[in-house]
Amino acid sequence: MKKQNLNYLRDCCMETIKNVVFMLLIFLLGSTIISAKDKNSNNDPVDCFYTGIQKVYLQLNKEVYITGEDVLFNCYLVNAANIPDTFCKVVYVELASSNNQKILGFSVSLFKGIGNSYFSLPDTLTTGYYYIKAFTNNMRNFEHDYYFYAKILIANQADDRLEKLITDNYHNIDSARVLFYPQSGNLINGIENKILLQLSDFSEDWEKQSVNIINDSGKIVKTVIPDNTGIGTFNLIPEKNSKYFALWNRKKFELPQQVSSGFIIQTETDGNVTILSNSLEMSDILNFRAYNNGSIIFEKKFTLSNGSATFSIPVENRKKGFTIFVLFNSYNRLLCKNAMYVHDDSAQVKITSNKTSYKTREKVILTIDLQDKGILKNGLNLSLNISQKGVYKTKCYTSTIKNYFCLKSNFDKKNSGLLESDSISEQQINKILPVFNFPKTISPVCQFLPENKGYILSGNIFSKDGKTVPDIPVYLSVADSFASFKYCFTDSTGRFFFRLSRFYENKNLIFQARGNNNDAVKIEIEDKYNGEPSKHVGFDYIPEDLRNFIKSTQNVVLANKIFKPGLLNLISDHMFDENLYNHHFYGATDVTIYLSDYDELDDFKDIVRNILPGVYYNRSENKVRVIDRGTQTLWHNEALVLLNNIPFPDPAFIDKLGTKQIKKIDLKKNHIIYGNIDLYGILSITTNQKNVYALNPALANITIPNIVRNVQVLLQGPDYSSNTSPKARPDLRQTLYWNPGLKLSDDGKASVEFYTSDLKGNYKVELEGISSKGVIIYSSTAIEVK
């Protein structure tokens, strides 16, 4: 009995232990599940947001130029949140005529989203309006709404167009478009959608025209009057299976396709948020979050009542800058998103001058004081421009950084003049322009690559009958003191790519290719500058006061060209270390022979026979072979011959070179592997005369210049503190000071000193900048020189 009781007790204990262990396991498993769910619910959906938008802005020193003048510019590349884009390293700048013909184009290297330099206007331009465009390679994948356009007036003293009055009867209607941005991304039928529309490519004559929204039976459902920036908003409850169009300027533009169900987030500046939906999920518990600068500023769980909900974000939670609103369901599925930008007015800079009015050649002292010192911690880039402002009602459309990045529209015609010191009206500063949507792609394939490590140059190889040729090597070289040699095999579409380092800046790029079986092929390099539609109308009307200003400016520019009163200080690019590119691609040479050490020999065959050890030259086959240093046997394959560091020279040309023409010959005898191509020795010929290279006619070749503007500019003007400056030399500078890299001290202050020129008039002092957190800085004042 006792034994039975003991066994029973033992069994009970075991059972209890088993139960306890089981419960423990359940508990642990449950807590794992719970904590995993918590982990999921804390997943930051901001990462799923796309910041692929890039916006470019160029600050120019003036907007009216005379041919032959230098255009100074400072470039900012930012993402959708106005934060400097540190990913892309290259911006392309193009000067185009009013009918979109490219005049000159070049690239600018960026450092943390900022780049600056200058370029000279050709002397041969005719008087008229021109565009300065800026874009990145990546922006070319999408519609060109985020391209930067500045319209400038260039006058040529030699032509008489200035005297002619050309009426503005030329309107490029075809490129005018209406763009639609439904709030939260989609047009949802059955609920009230707020839609932003933007007029593109319009002139000021059209601003008074309204836009009618019609349905597919032609009935007007809404009338929108855009403001002077071409932007308007309207509300619409789309009916199912109905199409809607915008009628503007006698053309029809279709609104985006509708979806049958979805969610909409509507936000206002006063913090009110309205959620609308006709989705089946609307009865779920929804989670709303607002993000600013990567952190959550507001969160709310709620349910919809009759398809809508309204709540308010408290004042203390609202932040300036870019705020993203996200809505997701109880399973953390993203339902919709919206974004809003509120300009940060606290980032003000005060500019004070020691006087308001100066004499000619008098010292000006400006004090710059940043109100919010906290911005300095994160990094700040400032640019100061002091240029003459003319009294004219200009039709140029250069912008300021504030009204460019803070408003969706590129242009603000009211503020295009240089008359107002703060060129944005209060209404527009406080105007909230939600970024409703992102631009659509125009092609299904991402053709143009973001250049995050360097310039990417691409092209195609075509056969004689126009077909693309895959899998053949294309070689790239430049004539330089060091041999550089890049190659790329064409892909299945016949396309090739090269990433160019800083070494290739401002050099002539030589491309060579040979088809399979020595077939003739053609190389075409992709031109990045072509293809964009004309952004603006091409009217040439120049009012009289502007013409008078230009005439006076022409004399000034002529005088400056003759007397050159201490102009640009060119600052070399400190980021570009030339020492990184001071070696041949093949490394050290085995043998170097200087031909001046030897007797005169007439041709290359004699040189090889008498001077070059271990080299075999077959004149009839035009092949050079070298002896392997290791095995002392001749390589079966021919060696790579370079003439002044360019490969594949014309054999007939090489044949005629004698000791008089050749300076030195470098020899490398080993079997070299470069990437995955084999080189059986290298023979490099350097001639006495520089820049001599004769390309092999059997290969297709093309030479293109790679123009890069990276030389930075600082314009401070001459120093008139001593009396030794010759007064007989006039100083008619229109730009008194240009510094694209103004530095503030730790207390947010800077003092700028410069001397006025002999040119009397009013000068605008303009300070623009951007912090690494996306805070836009703009301030301006004026001084007078009497």
């Binding site: 892309c88 994948n141 590119y581 093949y586």
Partner: protein
Amino acid sequence: MNSVFILCQAQKDCHCNYYNVSEEVLEDKITGIALSDENIKLPEGEIYNQWSRGDIILNNGEKITNRIIRYDGISDQLVASEVSENVKLVVEKSTITGFDIKLFNSDSILHYIKLTYQDIFSSEFEDGYAQVLVSGKTSLYAVRRLQHIGATFNLEQNYSYIIVKEDGTIIHFLLFSRRYIAGLFPEKKSIFKSQLRKQSNRIRNETQLIKAIKLFNTL
């Protein structure tokens, strides 16, 4: 908000992934002299006896990543293996600034750079690879060479060290002691010595040498 470039929805619709072109097509290439297998010695020693993965840093700053490489301590050369072609090549020293090599059977990565230093015995200047031990105001490197013992095929480690001072002076030495190392920094000799004594830091082996240089960098 993260300012790193993130694919936009439109680009996702593009079905493109940063690049339509493989990064390999765009990257710079390494150049080297092709070798037959017999030329490659296989010396014993932890970093020498196996091929390993690593990155090669070119002169222009570009990195060729994840290549199969090994360091040959006898000839002081970096050898890369092109697996697809089964070809090995000695990477041209003048075209690279250094390499990172993963220690076999370990997660440690050894960083090597190319330095120009004076040979201890011949006083000639040469370019050679050195492993980075301490990087800072004053840097410490180890030259991991191997040499044959007498006329035999056996190899022995012939490690020497290089200190690069803040002013750029390069000092190459074989043997060291606390007195010797402190003597290399006359301007801070007394304070350096007193700190070493406080921490009872003798300098008799590489580990202690590393510790001493790190301590010096804090002075």
